[in-house]
C-alpha cells in the first residue's frame, strides 16, 4: 500500500510535481472541527481516491462490455421477453460493433473500447447491474446519491465525510463536465443534508483558464505580495481580536485565510497542463476529454479524493437513434484518454490505490427503438433491468467478470448487482463500512446504501 510519504518520495524522483510538502497534516490545518480534515477509515482501505468516468445518457452494454451473439441469431425477430421501458422497442438489434477477446483473461470487449481493453486484465466488469426505473433523472440520482427521488448526499460527499481530503488546498470532490452540466445539474454531486463543504465542485473543463475553472481563485486585482501584506495586517488584527475571546471558530477562520492564500498557488499548479511533459500530453491527447482526464490525474495525485468526469452537457450517450454512428463517435472521444489514464496511473504507482469506475446511469435495450409510428430508429431505449459497469485499480481483482444478463442482455440474471451493492463495494475498497458510515438527520441515521447493499467480495482482490 502506498503511503502519503512514499507518494511524496516518488514525486521527488521526478514523477509529477507534487507540491504537497508541508501542506498536509503537519501544519495542523487538518485541525479538529474542520469538516475536510483527513480522517481514518473504518479499516485499512485498498483505495484512497476514486475517479469515475460517467457516461451520462446511458452507454449500451451490448455494444461495449456485454457481447450477445444471440442478437445476431435473432436479428430482426421479436424477442419473447421484451420488458417495459420508457419507449417502445421492436425486434432484436445485434450490435453493429465487433467484439474481440483481450488479455490473458480473454474477456470480450467491443471495438469501441479497444484501447481500454488493453488493460482488461486489470479490470473487473460487472455485467449484472440493475437500476430501478428506465428514466434518466431518477437513475442519475440513484447512481450518484443512492436514492432515486429524495435529496440525499452523493457518493463523493459521503466519501469526503468519511475520509476527509488529503489536500485542503484543493476541493476534495471535483466534478468536471465539458460545455455545461449533465441533466439534474448540481444534484448529481450534492451534499444534501451533509455540510456544504462536502459538495462536489463543478468545473467546466471546456475552459483552459484557471479563473473559469475554480470559483474565486483568480486575483487579478492584487499582486500576491500585496495580498500577503494585506493578510499580515488582517492576521494581526484577528489575533488581537482573538486574545480576549472564548471562541475557537475565530481560530478556524484565521487559519482559513492562510489556506486560501496557498490554495491560489496550488490550484493554479494543478490545472496547468503546460507543466506536463509533451509525451504525457500526447498520451492523453490534446482534446477536451484528453485534457480533462489529464487534469483529473493531476488532481488525484495531489490528494483530491473523488473526481467525476462526465462526458458532456445534457446526456450525450442517450442514443435512441443511429447508435452505430453516435456510440462510435462518443467512444472515440474517451477510449484513448481512459487507456492513457490507466497506463499513466500504473507507471506512477498510483494505480493500486486509485479506484477507477466506468459506467452510466443505466444501459440500453437489446431491441431496436421504434418511433411513434413504429419505425425502427437504429438506436436503443433505456434499460435499467441489466447493464454493465467496470472498475479497476484500488483493490479490484482484474480480469474478472461478475454476473451476467440473460441471453439477449435485457435483464441481469446471474448475480444481479444493485447500485447499493456497487456503492457498498466502493466504500469497502475505501476502507469504509457502508453500514457504519451514517449521519443523523431528521431524527434518523442515514446511510448511502439506506438499508441495502452487499459488498461484492468476488471482485475484491
Amino acid at each position: 500500500m502506498i503511503t502519503r510519504r512514499s507518494l511524496l518520495q516518488r514525486s521527488s524522483l521526478g514523477l509529477g510535481s507534487l507540491a504537497l510538502d508541508g501542506l498536509l497534516g503537519e501544519e495542523g490545518l487538518l485541525a479538529a472541527g474542520n469538516p475536510l480534515a483527513a480522517r481514518g477509515s473504518h479499516f485499512p482501505g485498498r483505495a484512497k481516491r476514486v475517479i469515475h468516468f460517467f457516461l451520462n445518457g446511458g452507454p449500451s452494454h451490448v455494444d461495449t462490455f456485454d457481447p450477445k451473439p444471440a442478437l445476431a441469431k435473432y436479428a430482426g425477430k421479436p424477442l419473447a421477453n421484451t420488458l417495459t421501458t420508457e419507449r417502445k422497442t421492436g425486434a432484436a438489434f445485434p450490435s453493429p460493433f465487433r467484439f474481440d477477446r483481450h488479455g490473458e483473461s480473454g474477456i470480450e470487449v467491443s471495438e469501441l473500447f479497444a484501447k481500454t481493453a488493453r488493460h482488461i486484465d486489470d479490470i473487473a466488469v460487472i455485467r449484472s447491474m440493475q437500476a430501478q426505473v428506465p428514466n434518466h433523472e431518477p437513475s442519475l440520482m440513484l447512481m450518484n446519491c443512492g436514492d432515486s427521488v429524495q435529496a440525499r448526499p452523493s457518493f463523493g460527499a459521503w466519501t469526503l465525510y468519511g475520509l476527509g481530503t488529503e489536500n485542503e488546498n484543493l476541493p476534495g470532490f471535483i466534478a468536471m463536465c465539458p460545455g455545461g452540466m449533465p441533466i439534474k445539474d448540481h444534484e448529481n454531486w450534492q451534499s444534501a443534508f451533509l455540510p456544504g463543504a462536502y459538495q462536489g465542485t463543478y468545473i467546466d473543463s471546456k475552459h483552459e483558464e484557471l479563473g473559469k475553472l475554480i470559483e474565486n481563485i483568480d486575483h487579478p486585482h492584487v499582486t500576491s505580495s500585496d495580498q500577503r501584506r494585506q493578510l499580515d495586517l488582517l492576521a494581526k488584527w484577528n489575533a488581537r481580536h482573538r486574545e480576549v475571546r472564548l471562541d475557537e471558530r475565530l481560530d478556524a477562520r484565521i487559519h482559513s485565510y492562510e489556506l486560501a492564500f496557498r490554495m491560489q498557488a496550488e490550484a493554479s499548479d494543478a490545472f496547468d497542463l503546460s507543466k506536463e511533459p509533451a509525451s504525457i500530453r500526447e498520451l492523453y491527447g490534446n482534446t477536451v476529454h484528453g485534457r480533462q482526464t489529464l487534469i483529473a490525474r493531476r488532481l488525484l495525485e495531489r490528494g483530491v479524493r473523488y473526481v467525476q468526469l462526465w462526458h458532456g452537457a445534457g446526456q450525450p450517450w442517450d442514443n435512441h437513434n443511429d447508435i452505430e454512428k453516435n456510440h462510435r463517435k462518443l467512444a472515440s472521444e474517451i477510449d484513448g484518454p481512459i487507456a492513457a489514464l490507466l497506463a499513466d496511473l500504473k507507471q506512477r504507482g498510483l494505480f493500486e490505490d486509485t479506484l477507477v469506475l466506468w459506467g452510466g446511469e443505466f444501459g440500453r435495450t437489446p431491441t431496436v427503438e421504434l418511433s411513434g409510428a413504429g419505425k425502427p430508429q437504429m438506436g436503443r431505449d433505456h434499460n435499467h433491468y441489466g447493464f454493465s459497469v467496470w472498475m479497476a485499480g484500488g483493490g479490484i481483482k482484474g480480469g474478472t467478470i461478475h454476473g451476467a444478463t440473460d441471453e439477449f442482455g435485457f435483464r441481469a440474471e446471474k448475480d444481479p448487482v444493485s447500485v447499493h451493492d456497487l456503492h457498498a463495494t466502493m466504500l469497502h475498497l475505501l476502507g469504509l463500512d457502508h453500514e457504519r458510515l451514517t449521519y443523523r438527520y431528521a431524527g434518523r441515521d442515514f446511510r448511502l446504501t439506506d438499508v441495502h447493499g452487499k459488498v461484492l467480495r468476488e471482485i475484491v482482490a
Partner: protein, 1062 residues
C-alpha cells in the same frame, strides 16, 4: 424490483467520528449503541427483560449485565460454553462484539434502556415532550423570570454569571439578532444610544430600545428568513421536465406574507393555521391565501404524488411539531410513537387536497388580465376535453383494462415514466381499476361479486355460487364461464351496454368511476393522459404561469390547496410502495398527541382540523418548539439542541422548567412572538458579555465546569450568516436599499443588487457556490439549523469575489469624499464597518499598510487589441457583404453583449467572448467580430469555427471583406470548419468581419472561433510583420486592481470582528 421505494429508516447506529456525530457520543457508548444494544433488544430482553426474567436473569440494565461478566459468565454463555439454552448462543461475530464491550468496561449511556417494542411505545408516550406543558414556579433570586431560571441552575453548579456587555456591543447584538442588519441601518448612526459606549443603559431605557428595533419592518424580513429555512423556500421547483415551467409563480408572495405577518405580530397559532388551511379560514384577510406557500413551495419531484405529499408531511411535522413523522412512511417509527397508520392518516389529508393557483391584489395591467382570462379558458377547455377523451378511451377498451388486472407487474407506479401514445393502456387507469375492484370486493358490490368469486375460486368454476348479484351480472353468469378470460369478456360486454341502469352507469361515469380522470390540474392528473396530451396541457398551463411571472406591475399569486369534493380514504402503503396497499386508516391527527380515542377528521380533507390540532394551546409540542427556535436564534443554541426533533432520541432540554415556563407564558400572552422576543432580550442573561466573568478565576472555573456554555454563563458570539454579512457590506457604505418585498432579484451577478439578500432569487436547482459555501439552507430540505463550517473557499470569497471587491471599492470611495485626511479615512472605515473608533495603534497600522502597498499598475492591453471591434449585423446575401454593423453596447468584463443581463431584452442572445460567442435571435442580429486594418498590407487568415451542441440545427459562419465581399463560409451543426485565406490585400481602414448567425432556428447556437491573422512579409522588408489573435486581443477582464485604500477597506471587511457579533 422497486427496492428504492422501500425507504426503510435505519435502526442502528452512530457515526464513527465523535466530532461529527450530532451529539458527540463517546466512542464506547457509540459501540454500545451500534453493536450491543440492537442485539440485546432483538435477541435477549424478550426472555430476560421486564416481562419475563428467564432463569432469574435480566439483561436490560448495565448492573444486571455487569453481574454476569465475572468468571466468563456472559461471554461463556453466548458462545455456547455453558448449559444455557441454544437460543442464548450468538454468532461468533456478536460474541466478539460482546467481548470487546466487556474489555471497554461495559460502556452504557446514562439514558439507555433496552426494552421491547411495546415497552418502548409506552415509554415514548411518557417522553417529556409529549406531556402537557406545565407552568413551573419561577425560582426566586432574580427579577426577570428568564434570569431566575438561568441563575438558579448556574448557582447550583457554582458557576458565575458574566457582567453586562458594553453599550456598543449590545446595540450591535440587538440590531443583528432582530433585523440582521448593523445598528446604523436600524437605530440610526446619529442616535444618542450609539454614543458613550462605556456607560450601561438603564433597564427601562433598554426595553424602549428593544421595542424600537422590534418595530422596525426589517425585523420581519430577518425572521422571515429563519422561517423560510424551516419552510424549504425556493423560487423554483427544482428539476422538472422541459415541458414544465421551472419557476414558481407564487413563491415571492409567500415570502412577503411571512414578512408582513411577523411585522404585524400575527399570533403564532393563527400564523400556522393560515399556512396550512387559509383556504378554509373564513375571517382571513385578502391575500392570506399566500400563506399556503408553506405547503406548496417544495420540490416538484417530477410530479410524483407520493413524494410531494411526503415532503409536505415532513415540513409540517418537523417544522411545526418538531417530530419526524416521515420515518413512518415505510413502517412504524423505530423510536417515537408514530405508527405508519399515523403517517397515512396525514397522507390522506394531503391526498384529499389539490393545488389551485389564485391571483390577488393589484398588479398587471388591463391587457394582462384580459389575456389572463383567455389563457385560463384555453387551458380549462383543453383539460376538460382531454379528460372526456381519456375516459372515453378507457370505456372503449374496458376489456383490455380488465385483462390488465391479471398482469399488474407490467404497469409500474408513478416515477417510472414511459412515453405513451393514445392507443396505449395507461398504468394510472390500470391502477385506478385495481383499487376500484379491490374496494368493490370489500364492500361486496353486487356488480363485482362474480368477478371476485371467480378470481378467488380454488378449483373448477362449476362450484362457484353467487348470491345477491346485480341482475344483469346474474344473467350474464347464468352459465359458468370456462376460464377467467371469459369472466373478463362477460364483464366487458355488460359494461359496454349499461343501458339506463344507474348502478352500471356509475361504474363507467361520474365521481369515483375508475374510467374518470380524477379532480385536479395537469400537475395532479398528468399520468392519466398520453404524452402528447400532457405536453399540450403543460404548454397552456405554463403560459398562464409565465405571464404571471412576467407581469408588470408584479401580480401576487398564491398556490393554495383546496379540498377534493370526495376526500381520499387513505390506505397504508406497505413499505412505502404505492403498489402495495395495506389497511385503510381514517384521516386524523397523530395518536401520541391526541390520545387513544382519537376521532377521525370530519370536515372535507381534514386539513383545517389538522391545523387547529397543531395550533391547539393544549398541544404539548407546538409552543415548546417555536419558543425553542426563537431562543436558539437569540442565543446561538436552543434549550433543546435539535430544534426540529423533540422525539425520544433528542437530548433533553438543558433547562426543562424554563422551556415549559416560556411555552406556557407564550400561549398565555396570545402567542405573540414580539412579546417573546422582548422578554428574552430584556433579560440579563441575554445581555451578558460573551467574554465570560471578568474575574479570571471565575472564568477559568466556568470554562472547566461548562466548556460548551450550555448553562449560559456568558453570551455565545454570533457569526454572521451569508445574508447578514452581505447586507452589512452593503450597509457599511449606506448603499443598502431598504425597500420591502417584491419579486426576487439577481443578487449574485454584477451589477450587484442593493436589495437585502432576502430578496435574492433562490433557485433550488442551482444554489450558487457563494451560498453553498456559506452553509445556506438547502432549499430541497427542511433545515432546522444551518450548518456552520469554516473552509478556505469562504476565505477565497472574501479575498477575491467581485462582490467583496465592489464593496471594498465603495467603502474606500465613500471615505474619500469630502477630502478627509488619511487618519480620518481610517476612522471612517472603522466606524462604518465595525461601528467603533479605531485605536491609535490601528490607525498607524492601517496607514503603514497603505504606504507599503504598491500603486496598482493598469493591466497591459495587447498592442493589437485596438484593431478589433465587437458588434452585431447581418450577412446581406445579395451584396455578399456585412450590413448594419453596430457595436455591442455592454461589456461584462469577459463578454460583449446587449446589456448587463444576457439575453438582453432588446438585442437578445448576441454575444462575443474571447474565444467565441453566440449569435442573436435572428439573422439580423448576427455576432460580428470586426478587424480593421491599421495600414495597407497583405494578411493571411487562419481560423477554426466550432459548433458543439447536438441540440438545435447549428449555425452559419462567414468571413467577409469590406472590399471584396465573402471570403469563406460554413454551415455547422455539432461540427467544426477551418476557414482560411492564404493572402488578401487590405487598405488602411478596410475591415474583415467574422460573422456568425443562427441556422434555421434559435437553439443551442453558441460557438467557438479561434481566429489568427498574420501579416505576410512586406515587400520592402522594413516594417515588422504584425500578427493578431482574436483570443489574446480580446479585452482582458477589466477587474481593475484595488488601490491601497481599497485593500485596507477589504481587510476590515475580511476581519473576524466584522463577521462576529460579541
Amino acid at each position: 424490483m422497486f427496492s428504492g421505494i422501500n425507504r426503510v429508516c435505519l435502526v442502528t447506529v452512530l457515526t464513527m467520528f465523535g466530532s461529527m456525530a450530532v451529539a458527540a457520543i463517546p466512542e464506547g457508548e457509540a459501540f454500545f449503541e451500534t453493536e450491543i444494544r440492537p442485539v440485546l433488544a432483538t435477541r435477549c430482553v424478550s426472555c430476560h427483560g421486564p416481562g419475563k426474567a428467564g432463569g432469574g436473569i435480566r439483561l436490560d440494565s448495565r448492573e444486571a449485565l455487569a453481574g454476569l461478566v465475572p468468571n466468563d459468565g456472559l461471554v461463556g454463555t453466548i458462545s455456547g460454553r455453558s448449559t444455557a439454552p441454544a437460543s442464548c448462543v450468538l454468532e461468533p461475530r456478536l460474541v466478539d462484539a460482546f467481548r470487546r464491550w466487556v474489555d471497554l468496561g461495559l460502556p452504557w449511556p446514562e439514558r439507555a434502556t433496552v426494552t421491547t417494542s411495546e415497552d418502548r411505545a409506552a415509554a415514548a408516550r411518557r417522553h417529556w415532550a409529549f406531556l402537557s406543558v406545565r407552568e413551573p414556579e419561577v425560582p426566586s433570586g432574580a427579577r426577570h423570570p428568564v434570569d431566575a431560571f438561568i441563575r438558579e441552575h448556574l448557582a447550583r453548579d457554582g458557576i458565575a454569571f458574566s457582567q453586562e456587555a458594553d453599550r456598543r456591543t449590545l446595540l450591535r447584538r440587538l440590531s443583528f439578532t432582530l433585523t440582521g442588519l448593523p445598528p446604523d441601518s436600524v437605530i440610526g448612526g446619529g442616535s444618542t444610544l450609539n454614543k458613550d459606549s462605556g456607560t450601561p443603559i438603564a433597564g427601562d431605557d433598554w426595553a424602549a430600545v428593544v421595542d424600537q428595533v422590534l418595530a422596525s419592518p426589517h425585523y420581519g424580513e430577518h425572521w422571515a428568513r429563519h422561517w423560510l429555512d424551516v419552510a424549504r423556500y425556493s423560487d423554483t421547483k427544482g428539476y422538472v421536465y422541459a415541458r414544465e415551467e421551472k419557476n414558481w409563480p407564487h413563491a415571492w408572495a409567500y415570502r412577503d406574507w411571512i414578512v408582513s405577518a411577523l411585522n404585524e405580530d400575527l399570533p403564532y397559532d393563527r400564523f400556522l393555521v393560515l399556512q396550512l388551511a387559509a383556504d378554509q379560514v373564513e375571517d382571513r384577510e385578502p391575500g392570506d391565501e399566500a400563506a399556503m406557500g408553506f405547503l406548496t413551495v417544495g420540490r416538484r419531484f417530477l410530479g410524483v404524488k407520493h413524494d410531494i405529499i411526503d415532503d409536505r408531511i415532513d415540513v409540517v411535522s418537523r417544522g411545526m411539531l418538531g417530530l419526524s413523522v416521515g420515518c413512518a412512511r415505510c413502517h412504524d417509527h423505530k423510536y417515537d410513537p408514530i405508527p405508519a397508520a399515523d403517517y397515512y392518516a396525514l397522507h390522506g389529508v394531503f391526498d384529499s387536497s389539490i393545488e389551485a393557483l389564485v391571483t390577488f391584489g393589484k398588479g398587471g395591467d388591463e391587457a394582462f388580465w384580459k389575456a389572463h382570462e383567455e389563457r385560463l379558458k384555453a387551458y380549462e377547455e383543453l383539460l376538460a376535453k382531454s379528460r372526456s377523451e381519456a375516459s372515453a378511451r378507457v370505456r372503449e377498451r374496458l376489456a383490455d383494462y380488465l385483462k390488465a388486472q391479471s398482469e399488474l407487474d407490467k404497469y409500474p407506479a408513478d416515477g417510472f415514466d414511459q412515453i405513451f401514445q393514445k392507443t396505449d393502456l395507461l398504468p394510472a387507469f390500470v391502477h385506478a381499476w385495481r383499487d376500484y375492484l379491490r374496494d368493490a370486493g370489500e364492500r361486496k358490490d353486487p356488480v363485482f361479486l362474480h368477478w371476485h368469486a371467480y378470481l378467488d375460486a380454488p378449483g373448477s368454476y362449476g362450484s362457484v355460487q353467487v348470491v345477491g348479484a346485480h341482475p344483469r351480472m346474474a344473467a350474464a353468469f347464468a352459465a359458468p364461464p370456462k376460464d377467467f378470460g371469459e369472466v373478463i369478456a362477460r364483464y366487458a360486454a355488460v359494461l359496454r351496454d349499461p343501458g339506463e341502469d344507474p348502478v352500471l352507469r356509475a361504474v363507467l361515469q361520474g365521481p369515483g368511476s375508475p374510467c374518470e380522470v380524477p379532480e385536479g390540474g395537469v400537475v395532479n392528473v398528468e399520468t392519466f393522459f398520453d404524452t402528447e396530451t400532457i405536453n399540450a396541457l403543460w404548454k397552456l398551463q405554463n403560459a398562464i404561469h409565465q405571464e404571471i411571472l412576467k407581469a408588470s406591475p408584479p401580480v401576487p399569486a398564491a398556490l393554495t390547496l383546496a379540498d377534493r369534493v370526495h376526500p381520499v380514504e387513505p390506505r397504508i402503503l406497505l413499505r412505502g410502495n404505492p403498489l402495495n396497499l395495506g389497511d385503510r386508516v381514517p384521516r386524523r391527527f397523530l395518536g401520541v398527541l391526541s390520545g387513544e380515542g382519537k376521532a377521525p377528521f370530519q370536515d372535507g380533507s381534514g386539513r383545517l382540523e389538522l391545523a387547529k390540532a397543531i395550533a391547539d394551546p393544549g398541544n404539548p409540542l407546538t409552543a415548546r418548539v417555536i419558543v425553542n427556535r426563537v431562543w436558539a436564534h437569540h442565543f446561538g443554541a436552543g434549550l433543546v439542541t435539535t430544534p426540529s426533533d423533540f422525539g425520544t432520541r433528542a437530548d433533553p432540554p438543558s433547562h426543562p422548567e424554563l422551556l415549559d415556563w416560556l411555552a406556557a407564558w407564550f400561549v398565555k400572552e396570545g402567542w405573540s412572538l414580539k412579546k417573546l422576543h422582548r422578554l428574552i432580550l430584556t433579560s440579563e442573561t441575554w445581555r451578558q458579555s460573551s467574554l465570560g466573568p471578568v474575574d479570571s478565576a471565575e472564568r477559568a472555573a466556568a470554562i472547566a465546569a461548562d466548556p460548551g456554555n450550555l448553562l449560559l454563563w456568558r453570551m455565545n458570539p454570533h457569526r454572521l450568516a451569508y445574508e447578514e454579512f452581505r447586507d452589512a457590506m452593503m450597509a457599511a457604505t449606506g448603499d443598502l436599499d431598504l425597500t420591502l418585498g417584491g419579486k426576487p432579484v439577481e443578487a449574485l451577478k454584477p451589477p450587484y443588487s442593493r436589495r437585502r439578500a432576502l430578496y435574492g432569487r433562490i433557485d433550488r436547482q442551482f444554489v450558487a457556490g457563494e451560498l453553498r459555501v456559506f452553509d445556506f439552507a438547502n432549499p430541497d430540505l427542511h433545515i432546522p439549523k444551518r450548518n456552520e463550517t469554516t473552509v478556505p473557499q469562504q476565505a477565497l470569497f472574501f479575498l477575491n469575489h467581485p462582490f467583496v471587491l465592489d464593496r471594498s471599492r465603495a467603502l474606500a470611495a465613500a471615505a474619500k469624499e469630502g477630502g478627509r485626511a488619511d487618519a480620518e479615512r481610517v476612522r471612517f472605515f472603522f466606524r462604518k464597518a465595525l461601528q467603533r473608533e479605531p485605536s491609535q495603534e490601528e490607525v498607524s497600522e492601517s496607514l503603514a499598510l497603505v504606504s507599503a502597498l504598491a500603486l496598482p499598475i493598469a493591466p497591459k492591453a495587447s498592442p493589437t487589441a485596438t484593431d478589433w471591434s465587437y458588434g452585431l449585423g447581418a450577412f446581406d446575401e445579395a451584396a455578399q457583404r456585412v450590413a448594419g454593423f453596430t457595436p455591442l453596447p455592454h461589456f461584462t468584463g469577459t463578454a460583449w453583449q446587449g446589456g448587463p443581463q444576457w439575453p438582453d431584452a432588446k438585442l437578445g442572445w448576441v454575444q462575443l467572448t474571447a474565444t467565441g460567442g453566440h449569435p442573436g435571435n435572428d439573422r439580423n442580429h448576427a455576432a460580428v467580430r470586426r478587424w480593421t486594418a491599421p495600414r495597407a498590407m497583405t494578411v493571411a487568415i487562419r481560423s477554426k469555427l466550432v459548433h458543439e451542441p447536438a441540440a438545435g440545427d447549428g449555425i452559419r459562419g462567414f468571413v467577409v471583406s469590406s472590399r471584396v465581399g465573402l471570403l469563406g463560409s460554413a454551415k455547422l451543426h455539432a461540427n467544426f470548419a477551418e476557414l482560411k485565406v492564404d493572402a488578401i490585400a487590405v487598405e488602411a481602414g478596410e475591415t474583415l468581419d467574422f460573422l456568425v448567425d443562427i441556422g434555421e432556428g434559435l437553439n443551442s447556437d453558441q460557438f467557438l472561433w479561434e481566429i489568427r491573422l498574420g501579416e505576410l512579409a512586406p515587400d520592402d522588408g522594413e516594417k515588422p510583420s504584425l500578427a493578431w489573435e482574436a483570443k489574446h486581443d480580446f479585452p482582458a477582464d477589466t477587474s481593475t486592481p484595488l488601490d491601497p485604500w481599497e485593500q485596507l477597506a477589504q481587510a476590515l471587511l475580511c476581519s473576524n470582528e466584522f463577521l462576529f457579533v460579541d
